[in-house]
């Protein structure tokens, strides 16, 4: 029992942080920053501790309110959850540190932190919950907080983007809710492990096929897979830069990819049909968004399209269903969280000093902003898949896995889009950071210390990200996560063994 007591803390700490800031933040100056950093840091440390605990004790389960699952709500940390927790909370901590300086230009810093931590608690909740309806509740907490955060600047185009995002996001949530209702009707239980057990006993009827389609639409919309991606290129550029980093970096992965993988692999059970749909949608997102991205002149909009394209890689890797494919997909998920948040923070730094997002107006900024320029270079090279940066290894694994699985066409597209990605980031580097400094930017200064600190941290993780593949680190972190997906519906057996202990 003892070790699993940390599980609810992943929801408690951000919630407490959020409401303490909204209660006291206005009265005591600087308190919002202090609470924010403390909560972010403690969550980050706890998530690493959770990985360690999982490797010592195996699956950790928690019964909320002492009601035993499947009747009560269960919270579960297995390899995949621990992996996602590290990803989410690491990025969240860097973003909190970045916001210390960046959010000074907005008036309501306290409100920002409140919404930010609400979103974080929603994401952590989605990751640790073992209950289907609970998953929906946390999904909505995170989604509603993100709608408000997109509109944070309250300018006209921001409100428009937030409204579009809210309408489409709500449609996605409705599909998810309908899917959960059908699944509840079919299995008479809401516990995810129990659902998996019932489905393997009763078989997958037509109703489960319907549920698969609903979930593909619902979670696919949250993950911004083509053709459900239309909200993302508006919403992500409109949000303040730290929030764009959170949305593109982790929100679409925690709510979309993680939930999709968990349900398809561990609850419904992956079939060749699901696998081929996932691979097709992944490749479609990769190609379509990659082609759309390269023509963009708005810095953040280009990054947003590139996010959709990279999500395609992740879904392709996970959809392959082979051990290597899943490993590559999850590794790319981790890497993409790191370098896409880094790139969005970079674009925020450029916007912070120059006040523009138009690539054509920039140029030569690396002379004046060496840290931003250097971290931008590292992030771009990493996402484009240049060795030895982390993005290279994950893309390599995905392509090798596709070749091994005899999916040569998918491997070809993955390699081709990788070149296209390189092209779009060379474009960013050329127009924003390299070349001659324009006359009007002669006076600009490098960004404040905390922004530099957070960008440098992420850049270092990008550089050394490849070490996750070293045998002894891989065994405790990435491999555990992919094993959890690979075991499929044995998840139920594993969870109930954990509960009985």
């Amino acid at each position: 029992m003892g070790a699993s007591n940390i599980i609810p803390l992943f929801v408690v700490i951000p919630l407490a942080g959020a409401f303490l800031i909204s209660l006291l933040g206005k009265k005591i100056k600087g308190l919002a920053d202090i609470i924010g950093v403390i909560s972010g840091l403690s969550l980050c440390v706890l998530s690493f501790y959770a990985v360690r605990l999982y490797n010592i004790h195996g699956v950790l389960t928690y019964s909320v309110g002492a009601w035993m699952p499947p009747i009560g709500i269960g919270m579960i940390i297995d390899g995949l959850s621990a992996f996602m927790l590290v990803t989410v909370n690491l990025v969240a901590f860097c973003v909190v540190v970045y916001s210390l300086n960046y959010m000074e230009k907005y008036t309501a810093k306290g409100k920002f932190y409140t919404l930010f931590f609400l979103m974080l608690s929603g994401m952590n909740g989605v990751i640790i919950t073992g209950d289907m309806f609970n998953l929906f509740v946390f999904l909505e907490i995170a989604a509603v907080a993100s709608y408000a955060l997109v509109a944070f600047g309250t300018e006209k185009h921001e409100l428009e983007a937030a409204f579009k995002y809210a309408v489409m996001g709500t449609m996605g949530s409705l599909f998810v809710l309908l899917g959960i209702a059908f699944l509840y009707g079919y299995t008479s239980t809401l516990n995810m492990a129990d659902m998996g057990a019932v489905i393997s006993r009763k078989g997958t009827g037509n109703i489960v096929l319907m549920v698969i389609i609903l979930f593909l639409m619902g979670f696919g919309l949250k993950a911004a897979l083509v053709p459900f991606h239309a909200w993302l290129p508006d919403a992500h550029p409109s949000a303040p830069a730290p929030i764009s980093a959170m949305l593109s970096g982790v929100l679409i992965k925690a709510l979309g990819v993680y939930a999709l993988c968990r349900i398809f692999y561990n609850v419904i059970g992956v079939s060749p049909l699901i696998s081929s749909i996932l691979m097709f949608m992944g490749t479609l997102s990769m190609v379509v968004a990659g082609l759309l991205a390269i023509g963009q002149w708005d810095y953040k909009r280009l990054l947003a399209y590139s996010s959709i394209s990279q999500i395609g890689y992740i879904i392709l890797g996970v959809g392959l269903g082979t051990p290597l494919g899943i490993l590559g997909g999850l590794f790319h998920l981790f890497n993409h969280s790191i370098f896409k948040s880094l790139l969005f923070l970079n674009s925020g730094a450029v916007e912070y000093t120059t006040g523009t997002r138009d690539l054509q107006q920039m140029g030569g900024l690396a002379h004046k902003m060496p840290v931003t320029g250097a971290t931008g270079l590292i992030g771009s090279m990493s996402i484009a898949g240049i060795p030895p940066f982390s993005g290279f290894w994950s893309k390599l694994i995905i392509i090798i896995a596709a070749v091994e699985a005899q999916k040569f066409a998918y491997a070809f597209w993955a390699a081709l889009i990788s070149i296209l990605t390189l092209a779009m980031y060379v474009k960013v580097l050329k127009y924003a950071f390299l070349g001659n400094l324009a006359e009007k930017w002669k006076q600009i200064k490098e960004v404040p210390i905390f922004m530099k600190l957070s960008m440098s941290t992420l850049a270092i993780i990008c550089m050394v990200g490849g070490v996750l593949l070293f045998a002894n680190i891989n065994d405790v972190f990435l491999n555990r996560a992919s094993e959890n997906l690979l075991q499929g519906r044995k998840y139920a057996v594993m969870v109930f063994k954990g509960i009985r202990q």
Binding site: P8, V12, L15, A16, F19, V64, A66
Partner: protein, 150 residues
């Protein structure tokens, strides 16, 4: 007639509001405090309580309503409700589990029974009531700038 009666709707609406608004508030409090033994609870009761203030605002204009419940107070109560709910959940750790019902359950169908559930109802009522009032205020005070820049 005092000056605060100059704004808002007609005399008929104001008179009816004056007579009913207290009853609505009281009914909301009843729904909350009786939530654990009869249908209702924190959410439903909170909505009814918020409606009583919204009713006041509709009939008398926003100044009168803000005198009863200002925006700062509403936002304070909203955060307080959330914190209260969380603290109740965390106090469950004293018995070993998050959200454990750690207070004696009492006799079924009595007012003082069901352990933490009435307390949770009150916390939810604060959160929902203040939150719904806040949303209404935000919608009322929102100024549309459309049409200005064309």
């Amino acid at each position: 007639m005092s000056r605060e009666h100059e704004k808002g709707m007609s005399l008929i609406v104001k008179t009816i509001t004056r007579l009913t608004v207290g009853l609505i508030l009281l009914y909301g409090i009843y729904i909350v405090s009786h939530g654990h033994v009869s249908p209702g609870g924190g959410f439903a009761g909170g909505v009814i309580i918020a409606l009583s203030f919204i009713h006041l605002m509709l009939a008398y204009g926003k100044e009168v309503a803000f005198k009863r419940l200002s925006r700062t107070v509403a936002s304070f109560f909203e955060s307080l409700g959330a914190i209260m709910f969380l603290v109740i959940a965390i106090l469950g750790f004293t018995g070993g589990y998050f959200f454990l019902n750690f207070i004696a359950k009492g006799e079924p169908f009595k007012l003082f029974s069901a352990g933490i559930i009435p307390l949770c109802n009150i916390a939810i009522c604060l959160k929902v009531g203040a939150g719904l009032f806040g949303i209404f205020v935000a919608l009322v005070l929102l100024k549309l700038e459309s049409g200005e820049k064309k």
